[in-house]
Symmetry: C3
Subunit: 311 residues, 3 copies
């Protein structure tokens, strides 16, 4: 009992030391600051956007044509409210950090209004994004002999989930919304193992099969009808630094993939100047840092394997 | 305020356009159709099945022998109800899609009864599946020097979780239940990064260590006491197409792995005719598209690395 | 209806058979035993620890300096209670399994008191762990041109999440707490695809980018300012067995990585005697089982690729 009291007794002193450490390490505390977008709200926004893109597949089941207009209207109104709130959080946070380039007086001006406009712009893009995502669903069916139906793909394919969330996040990223797009793609990354940066540009008919371990970097450009397998990295080769040794941000660091390219499991394509030509096939485990001509097959040479008897 | 009203004002018109897009892109809507299996119900089914397979490890703790018969009986009754409902959803959905081959009049006949039989058949298989899964737990202990106890494996090994869900889904798949088995293995895929198609055939004493990125294709055949590490792909080499350029579905596209094979991290074994012989060892990062004789060790040749000084 | 009744009728007999199988396969039941740590409690402990390490980023938002001492104090008191309970579970479970080496009479002695001491020792380490984790956040910013701010890293980088949970689990592991540390790192593994064993030793300024598929084994030693990309394995080469063919547990089986090493995507470094020298760079897809001198770049030789035209 004495020991129990002694140990609990140390907690107030520990709390004090911990709070002192908050003052000393301000870089990883977020006290007295404007609130960041909330992970729970980000999740709800993704779920409602998916419900609008794939009506009848989500938690609102048994939707029929007689009720769909009302349901879609209600979902849009609720989503708009939540989007406005979270976009405003992200904008306000960035404005406070002084990273938007505007003068001090202009930073917070019309911030809620700007958030509303961006929310409406995202929602207005939904019919267009549905047409784009429908090409991704078809590409999955055309590219996977194990797919039994389009329904099975919408219900259960993680590649489609990651690409859908990416397409929404890319739209918000294009509208200049900070933080939120990355939180959305990281939610999809956590669920699927597929990490697509919201800044990447990806054409229609995109299919990622299995998908775990796929990484698509910020400045990738991917044309239409490209197919990737699990573990494929479209990454950077090395990073430029300025005179002070700091990283230069914003240059093209990731490859360009032309139309109808297929990249098999665990292949790695690196570098901002690397172009994989249309129709090329990159074999499993291949690592590439230079461009590949159109309609070429690149594989690891077979003799590089060594066979010996197991003891 | 005026702008605020204007932006909200556009929502009804947007809802209309969105609903119009549902009519135009029927492939990715699910309105006016029979309900699909619900992800939440699939999750609850998996949890209860695990509770019956590993009694006392799950949320029902402190189970003792005096109460276990009653608890198991209650769990089975509840599970049966939920399984019947979700299996019926899957069967009805497939029947409606006209993909079960039966004549129009017979499609929906006895559908609930069929669902009940399949549910009972799954539940009847549990004692047999427990014996199989016990060999997987033992294989994990025998294969991982970091494993402190069998309990630690049941509590925390993602490989065991993925294999357990696969064994249950494979049983349902064998009973001819559509959609549900894949939803189960994709739930496990999301949690563990291990993607095992319910159609694969896997013998006793199967161990996947770490596991993130493992892919096991639909037509794989894996004998007893095989060990895989993270990132291993047992995949297809290329796909057959018919005269119209459509994929041929249902042929053997994935490899056969004989007993006591070990495949190390990020290795790739591809092709339906590829057989890895008993006792063979496939090294990390190796990519194979041809058969490997029994008791052979295959590694990437060392000279293929290039060493130079970093600047 | 008759069939319905018949099928439900078989459930009690099935329950009986299942319970019989619990008696036959005792290795995978946990009846009549002391409770194991609960996954839900482990999750709550991780969330509260993160809240104390990154104040203001978690669910308790809008925290300000005037209230932080009170909030931190409340969190610490609640955490201490939960930690005591779960640590005691883990210790009691191990004591019962007779694996702690103590004599029978001493096994359960002072168990709650020992749990309290270990809980306080973990909480006392938080200011020190914060300083360590702040170096990890800075390393992520210095190592990733796509990072917009330190806030973005704390909010959304899975590598930071996995390393934070590892640092907490490693502390508990060092205090001799069984089961719980591994349950913590497996929670992070499930969320991020990054599998770091609590026993590994990792220096300050550690950054894992993207991270899906990374595996860091139990006996790894990693010096300061090391950077890993997705799919990197720091693993074992082969396992020693004793005279009876059982695995020898506890030897150094995993590599040593010296300071300022960078290891690119899907590379594999294996073996307890393998040392990657300071400043070395290991290229994407490289597989290494021997030591690498300091300041060396290791890449897969380019000629091992084969180019041919696609048909």
């Amino acid at each position: 009992l004495a020991a129990d009291l002694r140990s609990k007794d140390s907690l107030p002193e520990l709390a004090e030391r911990l709070v002192r450490s908050y003052g000393e390490l301000a870089a990883i505390e977020h006290l007295d600051e404007r609130p960041l977008p909330r992970p729970q709200a980000v999740l709800e926004i993704i779920q409602d956007l998916k419900e609008l893109i794939f009506p009848g597949y989500g938690s609102r089941r048994n939707l029929d044509w007689s009720r769909i207009a009302e349901t879609a209207g209600g979902l849009l109104a609720g989503l708009h409210g939540r989007l406005c709130e979270q976009i405003a959080c992200a904008l306000r946070h960035e404005a406070e950090a002084g990273r938007d380039g505007a003068g001090d007086e202009g930073r917070f001006f019309d911030l809620d209004l700007r958030a509303q406009r961006k929310s409406i712009q995202l929602l207005e893009s939904l019919p267009r994004l549905r047409r784009l995502i429908a090409t991704d669903v078809q590409a999955a069916y055309d590219g996977d002999p194990a797919a039994g139906s389009l329904h099975e793909i919408v219900c259960s394919y993680p590649g489609l989930e990651a690409v859908t969330v990416y397409r929404l996040a890319h739209e918000l990223h294009g509208l200049g919304v900070p933080l939120l797009p990355r939180m959305m793609t990281e939610w999809a990354h956590s669920r699927t193992g597929i990490d697509i940066h919201p800044g990447a540009r990806i054409g229609p008919g995109f299919f990622i099969d299995h998908g775990t371990g796929v990484v698509i970097g910020e400045t990738c450009e991917i044309a239409d009808h490209v197919k990737l397998y699990q573990g494929v990295t479209l990454g950077a080769l090395s990073f430029q630094t300025d005179g002070q040794g700091n990283l230069v941000r914003g240059t093209k660091r990731h490859p360009t993939i032309q139309r109808r390219v297929v990249i098999y499991a665990n292949a790695t394509v690196l570098g901002g100047a690397t172009i994989v030509g249309a129709g090329a096939v990159i074999g499993a485990g291949v690592s590439i840092t230079k461009s590949v001509p159109a309609n070429t097959i690149v594989t690891v040479e077979k003799p590089s394997l060594r066979f010996r008897e197991a003891s």
